[in-house]
C-alpha cells in the first residue's frame, strides 16, 4: 500500500489484481452491462492511482476503493438517462451447488420450468428497477456479502439507513420476482 502511494506501479498493480473481481462485480451488478463495466473499472483504477496519496488509512483500502467505484458508477448511471440493454456474463458452473439455486430448482414444476438464462435475465432486470442507492445496498449486501456496517461506511450513511434501504429494496424485489421466489 505504501509503495503504491509512492507511485510504484508494480505495487498498485498488485492491489488492482487483489480487488478487481469484487469491484468488477459491484460495477457490473449496478450497471447490468459488461461493456460499461469494463470502461468504469478502468476509470476507477485510474482515479484510484491519482488520489492514492490522499488515502490516510482511516478505512481499509478495500472500503476506500469501493467508495470510489460506487460514486463513479452512480454518477455514470445518473448521466446515462435511459437504461442500457443488459449485456450479461456467463453464469459460473459453481452455481449448481448453491443452496438457493438448488431450492429454486426443486420448486420448478414441469409447467413452469424456467431456463437458467431466463432466471438470470429476470434477476438482472429486477435489480435494474431499483434506484441507484437501493441497488447499491442490495448488491453490496446480498451479492457481495458486505456487512451492513461496512456498507454504511462506504455510502457515508448510518447502519439504520442501510437496513431501511435493504428492507424497502427487498419488498420491491419480492414483487418483481414473485413467480420465482414463491
Amino acid at each position: 500500500m505504501r509503495q503504491a502511494q509512492t507511485g510504484n506501479l508494480e505495487a498498485y498493480d498488485e492491489l488492482m489484481r487483489r480487488h478487481q473481481l469484487k469491484i468488477y462485480g459491484l460495477i457490473y451488478n449496478m450497471t447490468g452491462n459488461r461493456h460499461d463495466t469494463e470502461d468504469l473499472l478502468q476509470e476507477v483504477f485510474l482515479k484510484g492511482f491519482k488520489v492514492i496519496k490522499r488515502f490516510r488509512g482511516k478505512s481499509s483500502f478495500y472500503t476506500w476503493i469501493y467508495r470510489i467505484a460506487l460514486n463513479r458508477t452512480i454518477n455514470f448511471l445518473k448521466k446515462r438517462k435511459s437504461r442500457a440493454a443488459l449485456s450479461l456474463n456467463e453464469m459460473d458452473i459453481a452455481l449448481e451447488s448453491d443452496p438457493s439455486f438448488l431450492e429454486w430448482r426443486s420448486r420448478q414444476t414441469p409447467v413452469r420450468d424456467a431456463a437458467l438464462s431466463e432466471l438470470q435475465e429476470k434477476l438482472n432486470s429486477a435489480l435494474q428497477t431499483l434506484s441507484e442507492k437501493h441497488r447499491a445496498v442490495v448488491v453490496l449486501h446480498d451479492v457481495q456479502g458486505v456487512p451492513h456496517e461496512e456498507i454504511a461506511k462506504m455510502l457515508n450513511c448510518s447502519a439504520g439507513t442501510v437496513r431501511s434501504r435493504l428492507f424497502y429494496a427487498r419488498q420491491l424485489l419480492q414483487a418483481e420476482l414473485a413467480e420465482y421466489a414463491r
Partner: protein, 174 residues
C-alpha cells in the same frame, strides 16, 4: 402490521441464516407467524439475488482492463516526470526572462542615442590658452533627423558648442 413487527422486520433483513439471529429476534420469530413468513420470504429473495455472484467475467476481460490501466498509468507517470522537470526549471527560467526584460527595458530608456564621436583622440586634452584648435567630428548616424540640431548636440555634450557653422570644444577659441 404492528409497529413492533415493522421494527423487527427492518432488523431481520441484515441476517443471513437463523443461527445468525440474536436471541430477542429469534424469540419474536417463534411468537409471530407473520414475521416468520416475512423472514422466509426475504431470505428467499436474498438467496435468489445472491445467485448473481456466479455471473463472473471471463479472465480476458479483467486482464484487458488491468493492462489498459497499466498502459495509461505509465503514460501519466512519463508525462508527470517531464512536467516535474519543467516545474523545477520554470522558476529559474522565469527569473532569467524577467531579468532580461528589465535589462532590455532600462537599456532602451537610459541609453543615449546612437551618436558616436569620431576622432576621439582629438577630443581628449587641449590646453587652455594654447593655439586654439577646432575639434572636427561628424555624427555617425547620418540619416536625416529633424531633432538633430546643434542645440541637441550641445545638450548631450555640454563641452561642445556650435559656432560659425562648426562644432567646437568649450575653452578652445578658434
Amino acid at each position: 402490521m404492528k409497529c413492533a413487527c415493522n421494527k423487527v422486520r427492518r432488523q431481520l433483513v441484515v441476517y443471513g441464516t437463523e443461527s445468525d439471529l440474536p436471541e430477542d429476534l429469534r424469540r419474536k420469530l417463534s411468537d409471530c407467524p407473520a414475521c416468520r413468513e416475512f423472514w422466509s420470504e426475504t431470505r428467499r429473495v436474498s438467496g435468489l439475488i445472491g445467485l448473481k455472484r456466479f455471473e463472473t467475467p471471463d479472465d480476458l476481460a479483467l486482464l484487458r482492463c488491468r493492462s489498459a490501466v497499466r498502459r495509461n498509468l505509465s503514460e501519466i507517470q512519463r508525462s508527470t516526470a517531464w512536467g516535474g522537470l519543467w516545474n523545477a526549471a520554470w522558476p529559474a527560467l522565469r527569473f532569467g526572462l524577467a531579468a532580461l526584460f528589465v535589462g532590455l527595458l532600462s537599456w532602451h530608456v537610459w541609453s543615449p542615442p546612437r551618436v558616436a564621436l569620431l576622432d576621439a583622440a582629438e577630443y581628449d586634452v587641449a590646453p587652455v590658452n594654447e593655439e586654439p584648435e577646432l575639434v572636427h567630428f561628424r555624427i555617425a548616424d547620418e540619416r536625416p533627423n529633424p531633432e538633430f540640431s546643434p542645440m541637441w548636440v550641445s545638450n548631450w555634450m555640454p563641452q561642445v558648442q556650435h559656432r560659425g557653422g562648426a562644432f567646437q570644444l568649450i575653452g578652445h577659441e578658434p
